[in-house]
Amino acid sequence: MMRAYFGSWGNSLLTLAALALIVLALPPIVGWAVIHAHVAPDPAACRTSFGACWGFIVEKYRLILFGAYPYDEQWRPTAAVLLFLVFGAWRPRILWLWVLAALVIYILMRGGVFALALVETSRWGGLPLTLILSVVGLGLAFPFSVMLALGRRSKLPVLRALSTLFIEVVRGVPLISVLFMASVMFPLFLPEGVSPDKLARAIVGIALFAAAYMAESIRGGLQSVPAGQEEAADALGLSYSAKMRRIVLPQALRIAVPSLTNNVISTFKDTSLVVIIGLFDLVGAVKAGLNDAPWRPYYIEGYLFVAAIYFAFNIWISRASRKLERRQTF
C-alpha cells in the first residue's frame, strides 16, 4: 500500500504535490460552497461575504430550468420533462409509444388545445428545450445516418459519392456554421411565406450535423461485420433491404453502440450552441438570469448548477449505453 504512494523519490514527490493540492484547495472550496455560503435569495447579503451565493439559484431556478415560458404555466414543461425522464428510464421498445409520448410532450408544451393556453415555441426555454433539441435532433438524425452509412459503403458510385461528400463537408465545418446556415439560409431556400420557426430550423441543423458523425460510427460498425455474413445472406438469396435489415445492420449497430453513445453525448452538449442563434436553452437561460444586474457577480454558482445538470444527464446516458452493450439482443 505504501509502495503505491511512496515507491520512489519521484512518486513520493508527486504524491506530496497532489496531497498539497488537495489540502490547499479543499478548505477554501468547502468554505466557499458550504460554510460561508448564502442560500437566501438576497444579493445584498451575498455581497458582504466571500461565500457562494446559492441564493441566485433559489431565486432564478425557474428561469434557468424553463426560460421565458409563462410562469403560471410552468407545470406543463415540468410534466413534459418528467414524462421524458420516465421514458428514458423505462425505454420501451415500441416505436409508436415513443411517437405518442413525443406528441403528448408537444401538446403539453405548445398548448392551444384542450383549454391549454397557446405558448409559442419562441418562449420555450431551459431544460425542456435542451431535451427537445437533443432528442428530436437525434431521432431525425438516426435514420438519415443509417442511409448515409449504407450509401457510403454502397457499390453504386453515385450514391457513394453523394454520401461521402455530405459526410465530409459537414464533418469539416463547425456546428455553429451549420446553425447559421439553418437560421439565415433555410428561410431563403423555401417559397415566400413558408418560414419554419427558429426551433424547427435549429433542430434540422442539429440533425444534419449529428447525422454526419453518426454515419461514420455506423460505418465503423458495418466494416466490422465479417464479410461472410453478407455473403451468406447473398447465398440465401435475400434482397438488399432484407440483407441489411435482418443480417448486417443488427450486428453493425450493436458494434457501433459505444461510438454512437459518444455521438449522443456530443450532440447533447452541442445543443448549447443554439444560444448563439438566439434560443434560450439551459445555457441561454442561465445567462439571461445573470443579466440581472444585482446577480451578475454570481456566475460561478449559475454555471456550476447548469454544468451539474449536463453532467448528470451525460453520466446517465453512459450508464444506459453500457447496459445496452451488455445485452445480447436489442
Binding site: A4, Y5, G7, S8, G10, N11, L14, T15, A18, L19, L21, K155, L156, P157, V158, L159, L162, V169, G172, V173, P174, L175, I176, S177, F180, M181, V184, M185, P187, L188, F189, L190, P191, E192, I265, K269, D270, S272, L273, V275, I276, V283, K287, R296, P297, Y299, I300, Y303, V306, A307, Y310, F311, N314, I315
Partner: protein, 321 residues
C-alpha cells in the same frame, strides 16, 4: 420488364433516381432563393468583398482599419482563428499528455485525480466552459493595476494575460497598460483556457488508450534491461503508443479548430465572428455562410495533411495504413 431484373441496370436506375432527386431538391432551393433574393433586392455574388467594411476589429495581427475592405477584415478574422487554433493545440497537447500519463499512474491518488479531471471536463458543454472562463477573467481577476503575478513576468488581470515573449521582452505595468511582452486580451485568454482544458481531457483519453495498447511485455522488457520508469516511457512505450495516439488526436485537433468558432459567443473576432458581422451588414447570407464553410474545410484539410505527414513518420516503416 426483363431489363428490371438485371442487377446492373437496376443499379444505374437507382443512381439516376438519386441524382435526379438531389438535383430536383437543389433546383427547388435555388429557384426559391433567387425569387426571395430578387424580392428583397439583394444582389448575389462576392462583389461585396471589395467594399469598405466600416466596422472595427479589436484584435488584428496585420494592420486593419474600418476603411479597409470586407476581404481584408475576413483575412484578419482568419488569422485570429489560426492563432487560437495553433496556441490552443499546443496547450491542449501538453496538458492532455500529462493528464493521460498521470491517469495510468500506479499511484491511486494521481490516477483518481486525473480521472476526476477528465470526467468533469468531458461531460460539460464547451460553451459553458467558455462562459465560465470569460467570467473568471473579466469579473474575478483583479484590476490591471493590482494584477496577480503567479510567476515572475506573468500577469493576470481583468485586462487579460501578459506573458514574456521572445523578442518582446518581459511585460511591465505602465499606468493601465503593459509595456513589452505578449498581452492576450480577456476574450483570447478565456477562449484559449477553455479550449485547452476541454480538449486536453479528450487528448488524455487517447493518450491513455494508446499507452494501454502497447503490450505489457514491452514495459517488462524495458525494466529487465534496467531502464528507469521515465526512460522506458520515453524510449520504449511512447514511440510505440504514438502510432495508436496520432490518428485520434488528429480528430481532437480538428475539434479544437472547429470549437474555436465559439469565439463569436464572447466577442473574440475570429473568422466566424467577422463573417457573421459581414453577413449581417450586407445581407449576403449565402455568401457569408459559404465563406465560413470554405474557410473551415481548408483549415481542417490543412491540419489533417500536417498530421498525416507526422503520422507517416511515427508509423511502422513498411507498414501500410
Amino acid at each position: 420488364m426483363i431489363f428490371w431484373n438485371n442487377r446492373r441496370v437496376r443499379g444505374v436506375l437507382y443512381q439516376i433516381a438519386a441524382l435526379g432527386a438531389v438535383a430536383l431538391v437543389i433546383g427547388w432551393f435555388v429557384g426559391n432563393t433567387l425569387d426571395n433574393l430578387a424580392r428583397a433586392h439583394i444582389a448575389t455574388g462576392y462583389g461585396f468583398l471589395s467594399r469598405q467594411s466600416s466596422f472595427a476589429i479589436a484584435e488584428h495581427m496585420i494592420p486593419y482599419s474600418p476603411a479597409d475592405t470586407y476581404l481584408h477584415a475576413l483575412i484578419v478574422g482568419a488569422l485570429n482563428t489560426i492563432k487560437v487554433t495553433v496556441i490552443g493545440i499546443v496547450l491542449a497537447t501538453v496538458i492532455g499528455v500529462a493528464i493521460g500519463i498521470l491517469r495510468l499512474s500506479a499511484n491511486p491518488l494521481l490516477s483518481r485525480l486525473a480521472g476526476v479531471y477528465v470526467e468533469a471536463m468531458r461531460n460539460v458543454p464547451v460553451l459553458l466552459h467558455l462562459f465560465f472562463w470569460y467570467g473568471v477573467v473579466t469579473q474575478t481577476l483583479p484590476a490591471v493595476n493590482a494584477a496577480w503575478e503567479p510567476l515572475p513576468g506573468v500577469f493576470l488581470s481583468n485586462r487579460g494575460i501578459a506573458v514574456p515573449w521572445p523578442g518582446a521582452g518581459v511585460p511591465l505595468l505602465d499606468g493601465f497598460n503593459y509595456q513589452g511582452g505578449a498581452v492576450l486580451s480577456p476574450e483570447l485568454s478565456a477562449l484559449l483556457i477553455a479550449l485547452a482544458l476541454y480538449t486536453a481531457a479528450f487528448i488524455a483519453e487517447t493518450v491513455r488508450g494508446g499507452i494501454l495498447s502497447v503490450p505489457p511485455g514491452q514495459r517488462e522488457a524495458a525494466r529487465a534491461l534496467g531502464l528507469k520508469p521515465f526512460q522506458s516511457m520515453r524510449l520504449v512505450i511512447l514511440p510505440q503508443a504514438l502510432r495508436a495516439i496520432v490518428p485520434p488526436t488528429t480528430n481532437q485537433y480538428l475539434n479544437l479548430a472547429k470549437n474555436s468558432a465559439l469565439a463569436v459567443a464572447i466577442g473574440y473576432p475570429d473568422f466566424v465572428s467577422v463573417a457573421n458581422t459581414t453577413l449581417n451588414q450586407t445581407g449576403q447570407a449565402i455568401e457569408g455562410v459559404s465563406l465560413i464553410m470554405a474557410a473551415y474545410l481548408t483549415l481542417s484539410l490543412g491540419i489533417s495533411a500536417l498530421m498525416n505527414f507526422y503520422n507517416e513518420r511515427v508509423a511502422l516503416k513498411g507498414e501500410r495504413t
